[in-house]
Amino acid sequence: MKILDYLKNHIVYMDGGMGTLLQKQGLKPGELPERWNISHPDIITDIHKTYYDAGSNIVTSNTFGANCLKFEEEELEEIVKAALENARRAAQESKGTQEKFVALDIGPSGKLLKPFGNFAFEDEVEVYAKTIRLGVKYGADLILIETMNDSYDTKAALLAAKENSALPVFVSNAYGEDGKLMTGASPAAMVAMLEGMHADVIGVNCSLGPKQLAGVVKEYLQYASVPVIVMPNAGLPRSENGKTVYDVHSEEFSEDVVSFIKDGVRVAGGCCGTTPEYIRAVVEKTKDLEPVLITEKEHTMVSSYTHAVVFEDSPVLIGERINPTGKKAFKEALRKSDIDYILGEGIAQQDRGVHILDVNVGLPEIDEKAMLEQVTYELQAIIDLPLQIDTTDIAAMEAALRIYNGKAMINSVNGKEEVMEQIFPLVQKYGGLVVCLTLDEDGIPDSAEKRIEIAEKIIRKAAEYGIGKKDLIFDTLAMTVSADKNAALATLQSLRTIKNELGCHTSLGVSNVSFGLPNREIITSVFFTLAMENGLSAAIMNPKSNEMMKAYYAFRALHGLDDNCADYIEKIGEYVTIPAAAQAAGGAGTAASSSSATASANGQAGAGQASFSGQTGAFAGQNLSGKESITELQRAIVKGLKEQAATLTAKLIETEDPLKIVNDQVIPALDIVGQGFEKKTMYLPQLLMSAEAAQCAFEKIKEQMAKGASKSVSRGKFVIATVRGDIHDIGKNIVKLILENYGFDVIDLGKDVPPEKIVQAVVEQNVPLVGLSALMTTTVPAMEETIKLLRKEAPWVKVAVGGAVLTQEYADSIGADFYGKDAMATVRYAVQAV
């Protein structure tokens, strides 16, 4: 019998701990237990056999750490082969009459994936794939992925299992006392991702005793539509007369596990500290129990690496701002691969309170696949909201879904056969909640009836791929009301029908409705309200619009979705703007004072950008207390007042040449701080605050320059990177910011950058200066290698190095041109070098 068939009508028993038992047999601290499959096959077989004798249906092979990172390929194969043979032999030798299966055990590789670690996702998939292929070759009945404490790593392992075998896959995660994985995922988030990827059984093991796992188990049972597995520890270990004992004995353990089984858990076993005695006790107590029927849960969910967003009564907000359509600055950012700009849009929307971010980076002249993959990767490194991947490029869609750490929203499919046949296989493989547009080969139907027909067609087609209604969300397409007076009505009517009659969730890109009309926000927000009233589950919307946010919070308060109107009271203040008249009055005062201050500064610093060193001299005698001699903008920059710096610059621009502001005000202000830093009257935090304030001023100046004909002046290009192997780059980012302040066009290659990539950037763009950062003695060799390669391929380039472990001596020995002891030193060098 196959394990999944057996599982349909039975409670399945796993085995218990292996490590503790091996230690008793003499396994030494730090010794690799997997080698015992070969060196001590009888002991391993015997342990497996005692579990089968105790009633286990599934015994897990002794391969927890069997991977190609720990073992050479030949030895790995020997180990997996021996491990499965040992388990198989135990099954044959056991007197137990129950159904017996052998699971290939897969534990975490111990590597942390990028961006927090430096192991690539695809490399991790391959690490697991190697062991899994061996498991298939040597006859495992199923794969058990267990003790995973990182959602991303779990995804890599599950993907490897699905791509390299047809075996059933059980996936079990290790939760901490806070009910989260080590990297932050909640049980609901894991259920969403793992079910989406079609794991056959999902659940929890290790870390905690059964009592502490109760909350996590409950959440699994609430959301999971597949069988749930639970394998707790026997509590916590302690030492008694030199022996390791655990504080939860078999009686208490089995009682707790029995109650899990009564609640619906279908696969039960033990982890650290449990022995055959524990399993026997569980089997004894439950052998006559009827297994609880597994039911399909109707939760529509997406997830990030931390949490799930469940589509329920309260509408979900999907931020629309990461999208170049109609946005000049965004397009420019895409062309220049300015990821920070895109991340800024993401952060701003999260701060405004959206639940999901739509991600669309399509532009004809860029490589959308590479860009979408990179943006997805970068966004999920710093923002914990689920993403909605929005593209018509199937290759880009797959690339993004593959590296996405969770269950994404997919935007979109429609009634066209061809599109469904492209998208649904991706959903089947990677999971996802699919936005379904109610249009087909004939375009967008005018009538609600037609749109519903298309919806039904999509539901049927999705079912062929095993995708249920709960993973489809219908967009009945908001059309421009200025072009067709009935457009909004048709949209709303079909929305209502799909919600009520087909029982599906709905979403709308609401902003379209007001296209071509003045004061669009008013129409859009009222339409949004009407749509919510008609059952809208999610809106793709602009969270920067106060009108939209007001409508959202008011709707929730009026619809019984906001207890005591608490959210409304807390949030609404943020979205009520100060009357325009009051704002203007305040602004006028600022402008007047700043322009008079400017006049006094102009006389002083006429040197301009080109003569940087001359300016330095002119400002040498200044300090913060010289109030008379510094302008208001300069003061704002020196003091690190970001908003003030931006406002003052905006005002100055009205009357002055942007370039003059840079040369006469911003650069001198930066110099004051730079010199203070060098003289140790100011410190790094102050240097950075000023740099940030200057950045705000530059933003305003750039905006102005983009409008007018005046070209921005660059001091030249500067490639900056943290070398291969190094994964922390705050130091590099500090230098980057200061360099930008001083007018350099910085090409930031990021962290953990291989020498070839640095050389490539330098050569392709004919860059005169490179800055390399290394943090560890272990990565300085990579720095040296990079310099060598640069000398060969780009002999013109000057190389500055910096980082915690470097010294002048060290820098000399690896052939650098300059050792930057801090950010200012590097800037001074760069200025002088060009």
Binding site: P29, N118, G176, G184, G640, L688, I730, M776, T778
Partner: protein, 277 residues
């Protein structure tokens, strides 16, 4: 006795000593503490604390092992062949000890995410978070060591200062042994990459020795306690922030011809030990 158990300790924020502001500023490259007129900076620091402290999760895993000696050389479970492993600095640090404790400590991934996010948008904040993290992981190590010292004290035992891979002549490569022996990834979620960098970045691994108090110490207290244990950590953290070597010299002074325990040249206990050797 050598124990098989790797213990895990988790701490609440309340268990760890309060944030030492001056220490954080020092890590951030600021000399002293910003004055009252530095309102921007002080406000930012407040914000940083409010955002960062709640995401920290203080965890330590450790293991206690017997230590045997081959003459002056401790037989440590490091390297390919433990019997050949030599680190003179570490040997000096744990001289006279019969047991060692290996531990790994971390304040979790949450702060790394915050730093990563903020260095894209507000780098000063990221810098202060970085500094706060550096201060917090040290505070965690101090708390952990103090609590253990208290326990050991009850049994008449005393701990040496902690000593980390990469410090003095203890190769950074020893990180691999710590990870092998402590199962850090599984126990408290620290990963080690090929460059021997730990993630979460605010993590520390270290070893210290445990020895018996000599009779003199039992009566008169540990004379060199301050010198030995007051702030004398020999660490190589991820960022290598404190690489002074000062502490090592202290230890050398202590050990010259003096009893390891009471710092007395003519200690009987020491002479007995010498004879045994």
């Amino acid at each position: 006795m050598t124990e098989q158990i790797i213990y895990i300790e988790k701490y609440d924020t309340n268990d760890i000593k309060l944030v030492h502001d001056a220490e954080v500023w020092r890590y951030a490259g600021y000399k002293g503490i910003p004055g009252q007129d530095e309102t921007e900076l002080l406000d930012l620091f407040k914000k940083v604390k409010a955002e960062t402290l709640p995401v920290l999760s203080y965890k330590v895993c450790y293991r206690r092992m017997d230590l045997s000696w081959d003459g002056d050389r401790p037989v440590l479970p490091f390297g390919q062949e433990p019997k050949e492993f030599v680190s003179k600095d570490l040997a000096r640090c744990i001289r006279g000890c019969h047991q060692i404790v290996l531990f790994a400590a971390t304040i979790g991934m949450g702060i790394d995410r915050l730093i990563l996010r903020n260095q894209r948008t507000e780098i000063t904040k990221a810098l202060l978070m970085q500094a706060l993290g550096a201060e917090r992981i040290e505070a965690l190590c101090d708390t952990f060591c103090e609590k253990l010292a208290e326990e050991f004290g009850k049994d008449g035992l005393i701990m040496t200062p902690r000593f980390s891979p990469g410090y003095g002549d203890l190769p950074l490569d020893t990180q691999k042994d710590f990870f092998r022996l402590l199962d850090c990834n599984r126990k408290i979620g620290i990963a080690l990459n090929d460059s021997l960098l730990m993630t979460p970045s605010k993590s520390v691994t270290a070893i210290f020795g445990i020895r018996k108090l000599c009779p003199e110490e039992r009566v008169n207290g540990v004379k060199n306690k301050n010198k030995m244990e007051n702030g004398s950590r020999m660490e190589n953290k991820n960022e290598m922030e404190n690489k002074s070597g000062m502490e090592i010299r202290n230890i050398e002074e202590i050990h010259e011809n003096k009893c390891d325990r009471c710092n007395n040249t003519a200690c009987e206990f020491r002479q007995q030990e010498e004879r045994k050797k």
